[in-house]
Symmetry: C2
C-alpha cells in the first residue's frame, strides 16, 4: 500500500475512459474539508461546503474531464444527482457522499456516463494497492503521474491521493485531495487540523498562479485505530499533505524541475510564505530554472515585490541541490561562485534559501519551471 488503502476501513476503485475518469472511495467516519477561495465556485464545491457541516462522510465520488463549473443551477442539481448515483450503488445516505469534479469549465456533466461508470466499478471496490492506484489515476487530467502518500504514525496511519498539474495556486485546499486516517478524531478537530495542514502545504504550491474554481481537500477519519495523540496526528496529516503537494508541483504542466524556496527571518510565518510564494510564482525565476541559469537577481527582484518589508542590503541567499549548498548573496553582497551555482541548477530539484534577517518567521513554498510544454498544453486544452 502506498496511499489511502494503507488506512484501515478504506476501499476504492477507479476507471478512466479517454478524458473521462471516475473514482469511488468508500470510508465512513468523521470528515472535514477545505475549499477554493475563488469567488467563482463550481457547484460541487458549493454543495460540499454545505454537506461537510454534517461532520461525516461515507463515500466520495469524483469525476475527471468535466469540472461542472460555471454551470449554475443545473450544475448544482447535477452535483446532487452525482452524489445520489454513488449512494444508490453503495447503499449509503446521499447526504454523506462527497462529490468532486475536475476538468473543463463551462460544460455540463454527462450523468448517463457517470452512472454507467459508477455501476461498473461499485462492485469492484477493494482495499488493495491496485485499487488505490486506479482511483488515483481516474481523477487525473493533465497530470502525468498519480500522486499518493502514506504516513505511518504511532498506532495510526494517514494516507491520501491527489491530482493537479495546471491552474495551481490554491488558496485553501488544492485541486482535489482525498485524505484518510484510521485515527478516531472528532470532525471539529479534524477540520482545524486539516485547515492548518492545507495552509502549510497545498496553499504553498504554485504551478501557474491560477486559482481553480474546483479546489477541494476532504479528510475522513475511519476511527479503526482508536484514539491517538492529536499533536502526532496533526504532524502526520501535515506531512502527508506536504508529500502530496510536492508531487503536484513536480508534476506541474510541462515541468522538468521542482523548485523549493525557503524563506526565513521574516516578521511572521505568513509573511515568509508570501515571499516564498511570490518567488516560486515568478515567470522569470521559473524560466531561469528551466534554462539552468543561476539568475539570483530575479529571485531577489521577486522577493522585493512581495509586499513584505525587509532590507535588501542585509539578506542572505543560498542555492542548493538538496545535497550541497553555496552562497549567492551574503549580507546583501554578491558572492556568487558561478560554476558552483550553475551546477546546483542542474538537478531535478533546486532549492533557494533566503534569509531576510528581519524576524522569526519562516516558510517553504514549492513550484516548478516554466517550459515551452506548459504553453503547448494550455494553448490547446479545450480543443
Amino acid at each position: 500500500m502506498k496511499s489511502i488503502c494503507g488506512v484501515e476501513g478504506v476501499r476504492a476503485f477507479g476507471i478512466k475512459e479517454g478524458k473521462f475518469g471516475l473514482a469511488l472511495i468508500k470510508a465512513s467516519g468523521a470528515a472535514a474539508g477545505v475549499f477554493t477561495s475563488n469567488l467563482v465556485r463550481a457547484p460541487p464545491i458549493i454543495l460540499m461546503e454545505k454537506r461537510i457541516r454534517n461532520g461525516c462522510l461515507d463515500a466520495v465520488i469524483v469525476n475527471s474531464g468535466c469540472a461542472n463549473a460555471y454551470t449554475g443551477e443545473q450544475g448544482y442539481n447535477d452535483a446532487v444527482r452525482m452524489g445520489e448515483i454513488a449512494s444508490r450503488e453503495l447503499g449509503t445516505d446521499p447526504d454523506h457522499v462527497g462529490v468532486a469534479s475536475t476538468g473543463v469549465i463551462g460544460r455540463y456533466l454527462d450523468l448517463p456516463r457517470i452512472e454507467a461508470q459508477c455501476h461498473r466499478i461499485a462492485p469492484l471496490l477493494e482495499h488493495s494497492h491496485q485499487a488505490e492506484t486506479l482511483a488515483a489515476r481516474a481523477i487525473m487530467t493533465t497530470d502525468l503521474t498519480e500522486k499518493h502518500a502514506l504516513i505511518r504514525g504511532d498506532g495510526f496511519s494517514v494516507g491520501g491521493i491527489t491530482k493537479g498539474s495546471g491552474m495551481i495556486a490554491p488558496n485553501m485546499g488544492t485541486m482535489l485531495a482525498f485524505l484518510y486516517t484510521d485515527a478516531d478524531v472528532p470532525a471539529s478537530h479534524l477540520s482545524s487540523t486539516l485547515k492548518q495542514a492545507a495552509n502549510r502545504t497545498f496553499n504553498r504550491i504554485v504551478v501557474d498562479g491560477d486559482m481553480s474554481t474546483n479546489d477541494v481537500a476532504l479528510c475522513t477519519a475511519t476511527g479503526f485505530a482508536g484514539s491517538v495523540d492529536y499533536g502526532k496526528l496533526s504532524r502526520a496529516l501535515e506531512e502527508c499533505c506536504r508529500m502530496l503537494a510536492i508531487q503536484i508541483a513536480m508534476d506541474g504542466e510541462g515541468a522538468t524541475k521542482l523548485l523549493e524556496v525557503s524563506v526565513l527571518g521574516a516578521p511572521s510565518e505568513e509573511e515568509a510564505a508570501t515571499v516564498a510564494r511570490t518567488i516560486v510564482s515568478s515567470p522569470l525565476v521559473k524560466t531561469a530554472l528551466y534554462g539552468e541559469d543561476p539568475n539570483w537577481g530575479r529571485v531577489i527582484a521577486a522577493a522585493g515585490r512581495a509586499g513584505v518589508r525587509f532590507d535588501p542590503d542585509a539578506v542572505d541567499l543560498r542555492i542548493s541541490d538538496g545535497t550541497s549548498s553555496c552562497p549567492l548573496v551574503c549580507d546583501g553582497k554578491i558572492v556568487v561562485d558561478l560554476a558552483a551555482a550553475k551546477k546546483a541548477m542542474q538537478g531535478k530539484k533546486v532549492i533557494f534559501l533566503l534569509d531576510l534577517h528581519n524576524g522569526p518567521g519562516s516558510a517553504t513554498a514549492w513550484g516548478c519551471d516554466l517550459t515551452e510544454k506548459y504553453v503547448e498544453i494550455n494553448g490547446r486544452y479545450t480543443t
Copy 2:
C-alpha cells in the same frame, strides 16, 4: 516626427553596440518622475527619486545592457558618475541630469564604455526623426521594436519614447519611459498629472507579472508652447502614456497577440483595474489567447480570484476583435457562439469586455499571449 522630437526644445541621439546601448536626450524644463514600487530598487532609481525633487531636468542619459541593480554603494556612485559624464559632455548642471539603466541585474556598469559612447554621441544630438528613433532603439533590450508616441494638443505637444518587453508588471512607472511636452507647467502639477496618467496606463500593462527593479517614467516640460489648459494637457499626457503602454504589451517577450480587457460595473475604478489586471496576467488566459481558444471559463475564473466582490451569476462577458463583438456569457448564462468566438480570437488584438454589474467603476488593462518564445527568451537570458 513621431515622438520626443515632435516637442519643441528636445534634442536626442542614441547608439547601440551589441547588447550595450546609450541614449542622450537634452531638454530643459520642469520635470516629474514616477518610479518602481519594488522594495529592491536599482541605484539609478534611488538617485532619481532624490534628484527629481529639484523639479527640473536639463538632460537624460540612459544605458541598456546592464541594469546597475543590486549593486549597492558602488552602483550608486556609478549612477552619479554616469550623470556627471553626461553633464560634462553637455555642459549642464550634474544635479539636473536624469539617469536610467536597464538590462541584467547584479552587474556593475562599464563606465569607460558609457563614457566613450557618450563622448561619441553628444556632438550628434539633434531635433530630427532619425535622432529620436536612434534614441528609442538605444534603450531597447529584448524589445523587438522601438516605441514612440506623439500627441498634438491644442497649441502644445506631448511626446515620449519607452522600452520594455519582459519583467513587466509595473506598479508606478513602467520599465523606462521618457516623456516631453512643450507646455509650460510647474513641476508640482506635472508630477500629479504624470502619476495619474501612469496609474491608468503603464500600471495597467502586464507581460509576465514580474515587477522590475528599474521602472521609471520621467516627464520634462520645456515650456516652448507657453501656458496651456491643464485639463487638456492631462488628457494628452494620459493618451501619450497609453499609446506607449500598449506598444509595450504588444511587444511583450515572445508575444504574437495583444490582449485588452475592459472591466465595467465594478464598485470602483481601482477594483475594476484589479480584475482587469488579474485577467491579463493569467497564464491560462494568456496561453488560451496564443492557442486562439475562446476559453472564457479561464477569464471568469481569473476574475473570481482577483479579490473583488461580485455575483458570478450576474456577469456579462463579450469578446471582440476590435471591429465586431459577440457575447460569451450573458447574465451569468453561457451563450457562446463557438464559431464566432473562435473567429474573434484569430486577429492580432483580442478584447474581452466584462461587466460585473456591481457599481460604476471601469478600467482597461493590456497584456499579451504567453508563447514558447517567452520561455526560450527567458531561459537563456543571462548566458
